[in-house]
């Protein structure tokens, strides 16, 4: 018997309507655990690097973390992996909610989609019965509406639905896959689903998920919950409210938006509004938030209330569910002063199925081009004037429609800032200032280079910093709080305790400041710790909001190996879990290297910091590559590949001439077919 995992994947060929239940190889579990790790192994094995993201040969994988469906609190993540039409690289996108556990209860660890359906269909997984069903009546409809219609159609309110909206059907490069309040929204996974003619995957399961050591497993779950309660009642002192607690950023519960509105950049990531958060704004925004939020809601088996049901008469869109920071991304992109605008446009954008992080940036980019005469009324007939209060609210609604429908200028913008800039030409490339690896980054523009974030942003394979960072405060703690902070910091990896505690104690002292503090070797250690914890979560399916994203999380490097061991019956210690995560991380680097990614792509946006130090940055990168066992062009070297039992990767990279002769090819310079050429 297999424990924690079901041991079966569901293979769906949409071109031929073929459905197969396939037993998986337990050795892959030993090497990669599950979730993102085993997703990556499948993509490495089965999708050759020349495959276009919109080719029928591209796979779209819905994976579950290995602990999903067990009682492990907050282990509910669905990990969607494919190749991104926007970057051409491996797409990372994950969502919480209820979908992954339901798939486990239906008897599967993953759904692997290949081919393309000639007509729009949805997949109905009802335990052992799996059907590909007509979805023509759902065409153009939003994910929430689709979910409600399918529940009625199947006469079962307990089915879990992951669906795309109009933007996914139209292959907008940053369209999302939505599921209730959750969404896998980064890097255009919705576009790949749309390209495959798949409107939704509907799941219902009634089988058991087993754990190997029941009593001890349950005791450990209780320990995690007890510590979560302790942390809930004892927020971290000396850090912004949003980083002090437990859960993913508590944007629904918290009303204090001073940190986001005054620290992040507005418009097209250009303007800091350091004086924005006044008493007047605070009172007005609090009122709107209190009216808008009907109930705080959570994901499967998780005590944190990171999401909310949004419903109020003035909304203008149907009731919907929201999480995290999307209430602000549109507000800030449109230079709006009104939180109400944020709720209204986010609801509409979510029903179109668009990434709430990239979408406002693309629209703000279009506004900036228009204001600077690069785009004109000829390109954008009917483009509204600025609102009387100086915001671009009306323009954003106008652009939203154009992009979701791929109409006129919207067809160009739907490919994201990087490709749109190159298609528009006329100097538009100059305005593409906030992308890295062809993808929109966080809208933060700061003064002094932060060496830790330089490496996290630059070398991180993921498109979202919140899926890379965590564990340590983002700025030095006030002196008087440091001692207390380190006094109960048990999350540090074995052997690093003294080093990391000393870092907290001295960081911020007179000469212990950026950019030359921390020393490079410590920067490397801190970066790796942050990143590895995320890769562990991505394999277990534990939410970063109970684990890797947090400072002092309930899940950490000392209890996750026990949780995995007790759940799966494998015997994995701290070092072995670290190695699995590093193996997965390195394999993903290799997948992207095989698709052309190199050191020159490992760069944060040029203006992320005002004060840059090119020589020092080059040194940072070089040292980190050495630390990771990669060569100077960011390619994992044979030695580390062998050590991590990825010798098959080394062989392939050598056969292709990528390893061995200092190849310096760059990432592909053509967008996916079917997008821009449409």
């Amino acid at each position: 018997m297999r424990y924690a995992e079901t041991g079966f994947n569901l293979e769906i060929d949409l071109s031929h309507g073929n459905i197969e239940k396939v037993e998986t190889d337990p050795r892959d579990t030993e090497l990669h655990l599950g979730g993102l790790g085993t997703n990556a192994k499948i993509l490495w094995d089965r999708v050759p690097p020349e495959t276009d993201p919109f080719s029928p040969d591209n796979l779209l994988i819905f994976g579950t973390g290995i602990l999903c469906g067990t009682p492990a609190p907050s282990a509910n993540r669905t990990i969607v992996s494919t190749f991104s039409p926007q970057t051409g690289l491996m797409a990372f996108s994950m969502m919480g909610g209820f979908w992954a556990p339901e798939l486990k209860f239906a008897g599967y660890d993953k759904v692997i989609i290949r081919g393309k359906s000639p007509d729009l269909v949805y997949l109905w997984i009802n335990g052992d019965k799996v059907e590909i069903r007509d979805a023509s009546h759902l065409r153009g409809k939003g994910p929430l509406e689709v979910a409600e219609l399918i529940k009625k159609e199947l006469k079962d309110p307990r089915v879990q639905v992951a669906a795309i909206g109009l933007a996914g059907e139209n292959k907008v490069f940053y369209s999302s896959i939505e599921h209730g309040r959750s969404s896998a929204s980064r890097l255009g996974v919705g576009a790949v689903m749309g390209d495959k003619g798949l409107k939704a995957i509907v799941v219902r399961g009634k089988k058991d998920v087993n754990v190997a050591h029941p009593e001890e497993f349950m005791n450990l779950c209780n320990e995690v919950l007890e510590y979560r309660n302790f942390r809930w009642e004892n927020p971290i002192k000396g850090v912004p409210a949003i980083l002090a607690g437990v859960g993913s950023p508590q944007e629904m519960a918290l009303r204090d938006e001073q940190w986001h509105t005054t620290s992040f950049s507005w418009g097209h990531a250009r303007t800091r509004r350091k004086d924005f958060w006044t008493e007047e704004v605070e009172a007005q925004w609090n009122k709107i938030q209190d009216t808008a939020i009907v109930r705080l809601i959570s994901c499967y088996n998780c005590p944190n209330e990171c999401g909310a049901l949004i419903s109020y008469p003035a909304l203008g869109t149907p009731t919907y569910m929201m999480k995290c920071y999307s209430k602000l991304t549109y507000v800030m992109g449109a230079m709006s002063n009104d939180l109400d605008f944020g709720y209204r446009i986010a609801g509409q954008a979510q029903e179109y199925g668009m990434d709430g992080y990239t979408n406002p940036q693309v629209m703000a980019f279009a506004v900036e081009l228009y204001e600077n005469g690069v785009l004109t009324d000829e390109d954008m007939p009917g483009f509204p004037p600025r609102n009387p209060d100086g915001s671009d609210e009306d323009r954003f609604f106008w652009l939203l429609e154009k992009i979701a429908h791929r109409e006129g200028i919207g067809d160009v913008l739907a490919d994201g800032v990087y490709w749109a800039a190159r298609r528009i030409g006329r100097g538009a490339e100059e305005y593409d200032h906030n992308t890295t690896k062809k993808h929109e980054q966080m809208v933060i523009k700061l003064g002094m280079l932060n060496p830790i974030y330089y490496l996290l942003y630059g070398t991180g394979e993921k498109a979202n910093i919140t899926q890379i960072e965590g564990q340590i405060p983002q700025a030095p703690l006030p002196k008087e709080l440091r001692e207390e902070f380190i006094s109960n910091w048990m999350q540090i990896p074995t052997g690093k305790e003294e080093r990391f505690k000393q870092f907290i104690m001295e960081w911020g002292d007179e000469d212990k400041v950026f950019p030359y503090y921390p020393p490079v070797d410590l920067v490397c250690d801190l970066c790796e710790w942050q990143e590895i914890m995320h890769y562990i979560d991505d394999a277990t399916g534990i939410c970063a909001g109970m684990s890797s994203f947090l400072i002092k999380p309930p899940y950490h490097i000392h209890n996750i190996p026990r949780m995995v061991s007790l759940g799966t019956g494998m015997d994995i210690d701290e070092d072995e879990l670290w190695e699995i995560a590093n193996r997965n991380r390195t394999l993903i680097r290799a997948i992207n290297v095989r698709r052309g990614m190199r050191s020159k792509d490992d760069e944060p946006p040029v203006d992320h910091w005002r004060r840059r130090f090119p020589d020092y940055e080059a040194k940072l990168k070089d040292e980190y590559y050495k630390f990771k066992g990669w060569n100077s062009d960011a390619i994992p070297a044979e030695q580390i590949l062998d050590e991590l039992r990825l010798d098959f990767v080394a062989r392939d990279l050598k056969e292709r001439g990528i390893l061995g002769d200092g190849n310096t090819e760059g990432a592909s310079e053509t967008p996916s077919e079917g997008g821009s050429e449409k």
Binding site: P157, G180, K206, V211, V294, R295
Partner: protein, 179 residues
């Protein structure tokens, strides 16, 4: 005097995480905690997310027949599902039935608090938002004779197949075991 156990449901505090279902089904697995399956849980959260309806309901009595008339309840402008508050394991729905055997599932207060090992039921323990809370109190009256799990299951089978057929089957089974 008899002891009355009370699970209080505050539906306004429910966030729909279904941790109660997880913990309940784990406790009732055989061996204990060895598997999870919300479908086997004796507490289920009925929800209609977009209409702000979150209603945890504990499995109650087994009944062989449906109600004569269904009804809906509207509270604070929210219309709850037909049978939305009902605890019965009944022929009209799949709720509170074992997914494999179809036998009824009833809240057993974690098998009457697991011989003293539990101070509150698992669903309450795992509801960190206090949508579920637990109380015990004394009341006038005599302790009720506890209906065993086996008896509840047999009653359901008897309703379905008739008592005679069950007796025949048990005789046949015991003979074939002896033989």
């Amino acid at each position: 005097m008899k002891k009355v156990s009370l699970i209080k449901i505050n539906a306004d505090k429910c966030m729909g995480c279904r941790a109660c279902e997880v913990a309940c089904s784990a406790f009732h697995a055989n061996p204990k905690y060895s598997s999870t399956n919300p479908e086997r849980s004796r507490i289920r959260v009925s929800y209609d997310q977009l209409n702000d309806i979150y209603m945890p309901v504990m499995g109650g009595e087994y009944t062989a027949a449906e109600c004569n008339a269904r009804y809906t309840i509207t509270v604070d402008g929210k219309t709850y599902d037909e049978c939305g508050f009902c605890r019965a394991s009944c022929p009209s729905r799949d709720l509170f039935k074992d997914p494999d055997s179809g036998l009824p599932l009833r809240c057993d207060l974690c098998d009457n608090l697991d011989d003293g090992a539990l101070d509150e039921p698992w669903c309450v323990k795992w509801c960190l938002n206090d949508a579920l809370t637990y109380e015990e109190r004394e009341e006038e009256g005599e302790e009720e004779v506890k209906q065993e799990e086996l008896e509840i299951g047999l009653e359901a089978l008897a309703d379905k197949f008739g008592l005679d057929k069950i007796v025949d089957t048990i005789v046949r089974m015991s003979e074939s075991k002896k033989g």
